[in-house]
């Protein structure tokens, strides 16, 4: 994964904990300054070492941690130079999801080593939005769930996010009815 993910993890720990906690996590993960270059692609084991160290130090269940990280990622990306790109990608959930693949295509053309996931909106109406998520990585469903929740929050929208692991993709559903009823 690319270094910006590592930067986001660092900022999240600083936000919810403190610099001292981060020092402990960094030491446990074995990462150092060279692993925090935003546009540099790192092997997944580096990223997983970092996530594992955060989980080890905070004691959070891995699913909760990934979901929290997904939500934080949206907030973090919007605080960096990528803010304008996010704004260009759309100002509602559906538009942004529809543009994500195009954004990832652009990033991939610049960073050929980056392994980018795919998001295809297969259904959208006032009650429900369904999106198919495909990635060469497995086990990141809770991270994507957090991303979708983060996007809902970004667009002042409401909804429950659930997912179903299928054979070649993961089907995510944003159920807007539940939120509206509530």
């Amino acid at each position: 994964m690319y270094g910006m993910i590592h930067q986001a993890a660092r900022e999240m720990v600083h936000t919810v904990a403190d610099a001292e906690t981060w020092s402990v996590i960094l030491e446990k993960s074995g990462l150092d300054e060279e692993h925090f270059i935003s546009a540099q692609t790192y092997t997944d084991d580096v990223t997983f070492a970092l996530i594992g160290a955060i989980q080890g130090v905070t004691g959070m269940p891995i699913g909760d941690l990934l979901a929290a990280f997904g939500r934080y990622w949206i907030e973090f990306a919007a605080s960096t130079s990528y803010r304008s790109v996010m704004e260009m990608a759309g100002n509602d959930l559906e538009s942004l999801l529809n543009n994500l693949d195009r954004m990832h295509t652009s990033i991939k053309s610049t960073m050929p080593d980056a392994d980018m996931p795919s998001f295809i909106v297969v259904h959208s109406d006032a009650q429900r939005l369904e999106v198919e998520y495909r990635s060469s990585r497995s086990g990141l469903e809770m991270f994507v769930k957090g991303l979708l929740e983060g996007l809902l929050e970004r667009f002042d929208d409401e909804g429950d996010v659930s997912f179903d692991v299928r054979e070649d993709h993961v089907a995510f559903t944003v159920d807007r009815r539940a939120a509206k009823v509530a």
């Binding site: 270094g3 935003s38 543009n99 195009r102 652009s106």
Partner: protein, 547 residues
């Protein structure tokens, strides 16, 4: 079958396109332009809505046959700029243009979105690259800041370490002064052979410890950038000859031979520090050599255009030698040849680091050639300014050659440390001198008011009144009574150049180091005695009380 560019396809490929009639009316606009500039765009006069930035033309008709790329600017929204080509088809001017994004991606407060760009347009990629570039710059700034902070922390830790070493060394030196002083005193008394042998071990061990402490203090000064070099005329031949006497003794004690090549000439430089460098190299060579010997060679080069003479000092031994790996870390602080070296041969590993610093401060270079088991050659290359030998004063010989009695000297010694008072008293006794002691600066001034003295030995750091304050007070009393100033010599472990300058500035005549060097002390007192002897026949104003 040729691809037919219908409206839908054109809107997809050129979301910001324009179609203009030869009369200059906008007949069609892409969905992106309609979104940004409104439905009313279609039907307007082109020149009421846009102007040409490039080419510099003012009439739509001039676009016919235009093969250049064009840049348009909206007259409604100055952030909205378009670039592309002009094609004429079916009697219309087709401006196949796309957006030029602003740095923040906004045009007139409204964000450009992905759908404003054709999927084949790489403008978005370019925008993304500029974003990535910006982010990388921020990364670089952050990393640079972090590294600077770490470097500052490391420097502060290093400074603290150096300061700690300097303080500890200084604190150890004071009691060591007592040990060595009393040992020197004992050596001058009658002793049984086995007592003399034991005392000689005490003195040797104490001197060894003193060398280590001096190394640490020297290195602390180097680290703190406080080491300053003298630039005075010195006789190189005398330096080599003088130092070689001791080198020869040390070599012979170990069953080695020592030879040095003859040197000549007077040069400007720091004689003491050059002697320190050569001593370090020669004593090291002796330490690491079991058989054979050590040679000190001095070679002179041709005088350069800038008047400097290149000098090469080489110290060669037939000792244990060392590998290239060891040579690489040899001049670094706290490093020795092997881990076992410190245990086997002793030492701090600072000597060569100090040598390197001194040589570099002199503008020279130090290097080593060696092989395991085949000895070593240490080489120091310097360029020094040659100078004339100073003329000898005719009276000097008679003065210095003449033995004077120190017994009649009235010496006041201000020293707060009881051990140091005992040591000083013991060292002065064989010279026939019985000093009067003051325990602080205030007492020294009071005693000076009451009695006459030929010389005052003044500790610098004392309670109640420092040596500097006491000196100023004494000089003031002398000035008030028009008395001839009594020689005052600082007796202190703090002999850095700027410290000595401070002593002289406040009215002292010189400074002696601690631990006390007996010969140095004797020399100073002899100087006072000579001056006193010369002054006989003239009124002895020293004896006038400056009250």
């Amino acid at each position: 079958m040729a691809l037919e560019l219908n409206k839908e396809l054109l809107d997809e490929l050129y979301p910001a396109r324009l179609a203009v009639t030869p009369e200059g009316l906008i007949e069609a606009a892409g969905p992106s332009l309609v979104r940004h500039l409104g439905e009313g765009l279609v039907g307007r006069k082109f020149l009421d809505a846009f102007k040409f930035e490039r080419p510099r033309i003012h009439d739509v008709a001039e676009l016919i046959g235009c093969k250049q790329s064009i840049i348009l600017k909206s007259l409604f929204n100055s952030d909205l700029r378009l670039r592309g080509l002009v094609k004429v088809q079916d009697g219309l001017l087709h401006l196949l243009v796309g957006h030029i994004p602003t740095a923040d991606g906004k045009v007139g407060g409204q964000m450009l979105v992905f759908s404003d760009f054709a999927p084949t347009d790489s403008t978005l990629d370019t925008h993304l690259i500029s974003v990535i570039h910006q982010q990388l710059l921020e990364d670089a700034q952050r990393i640079s800041k972090e590294l600077k902070a770490k470097s500052r922390q490391a420097e502060a830790a290093n400074e603290a370490k150096t300061q700690f070493l300097a303080t500890v060394s200084h604190e150890i030196r004071t009691p060591l002064n007592g040990v060595l002083g009393m040992a020197d005193f004992l050596a001058g008394t009658e002793l049984a052979p086995e007592q003399r042998e034991a005392l000689s071990i005490v003195i040797d061990s104490g001197q060894g410890l003193l060398t280590i402490l001096n190394d640490v203090l020297d290195y602390s000064k180097v680290e703190a950038g406080e080491l300053e070099l003298e630039n005075r005329a010195f006789d190189l031949a005398a330096l080599i000859k003088g130092a070689s006497g001791l080198f020869h003794v040390k070599a012979v004690e170990k069953g080695l031979h020592y030879v040095s090549s003859p040197a000549r000439g007077w040069f400007m430089g720091d004689e003491t520090r050059l002697r320190q460098i050569l001593s370090n190299l020669v004593f090291n060579a002796i330490k690491f050599t079991q058989f054979g010997g050590v040679e000190l060679r001095v070679e002179f080069g041709e005088v350069r255009d800038d008047g400097m003479t290149p000098l090469v000092f080489e110290v060669e031994d037939s000792g244990i030698g060392m590998s290239e790996e060891v040579q690489a870390r040899l001049f670094k602080p706290f490093q020795q040849g092997e881990v076992t070296t410190a245990r086997k041969f002793g030492g701090t590993g600072l000597g060569l680091a100090i040598c390197r610093n001194l040589v570099e401060k002199m503008g020279g270079e130090i290097s080593v050639r060696s092989e395991n088991g085949r000895g070593s050659v240490f080489r120091v290359e310097l360029a020094l300014q040659a100078t004339e030998a100073p003329a000898l004063a005719g009276d000097d010989t008679s003065e210095s050659g003449q033995q004077v009695s120190l017994a009649s000297l009235r010496v006041l010694a201000a020293e707060d440390n009881a051990t140091n008072r005992i040591v000083l008293g013991a060292l002065l006794k064989p010279m026939g001198v019985e000093p009067a002691f003051a325990e602080n600066g205030r007492e020294a001034v009071e005693m000076f008011r009451e009695e006459s003295f030929d010389v005052i030995l003044m500790d610098v750091m004392m309670p109640e009144m420092s040596g500097l304050e006491a000196t100023r007070a004494i000089r003031q009393l002398e000035s008030n009574s028009d008395a001839k100033p009594v020689p005052i010599h600082a007796l202190t472990a703090n002999l850095m150049r700027e410290q000595v300058a401070q002593y002289l500035e406040c009215g002292m005549d010189g400074a002696l180091g601690k631990p006390i060097n007996v010969e140095e002390l004797r020399g100073t007192l002899e100087g006072v005695a000579h001056a006193k002897s010369d002054a006989q026949g003239t009124p002895d104003t020293h004896n006038r009380k400056a009250s």
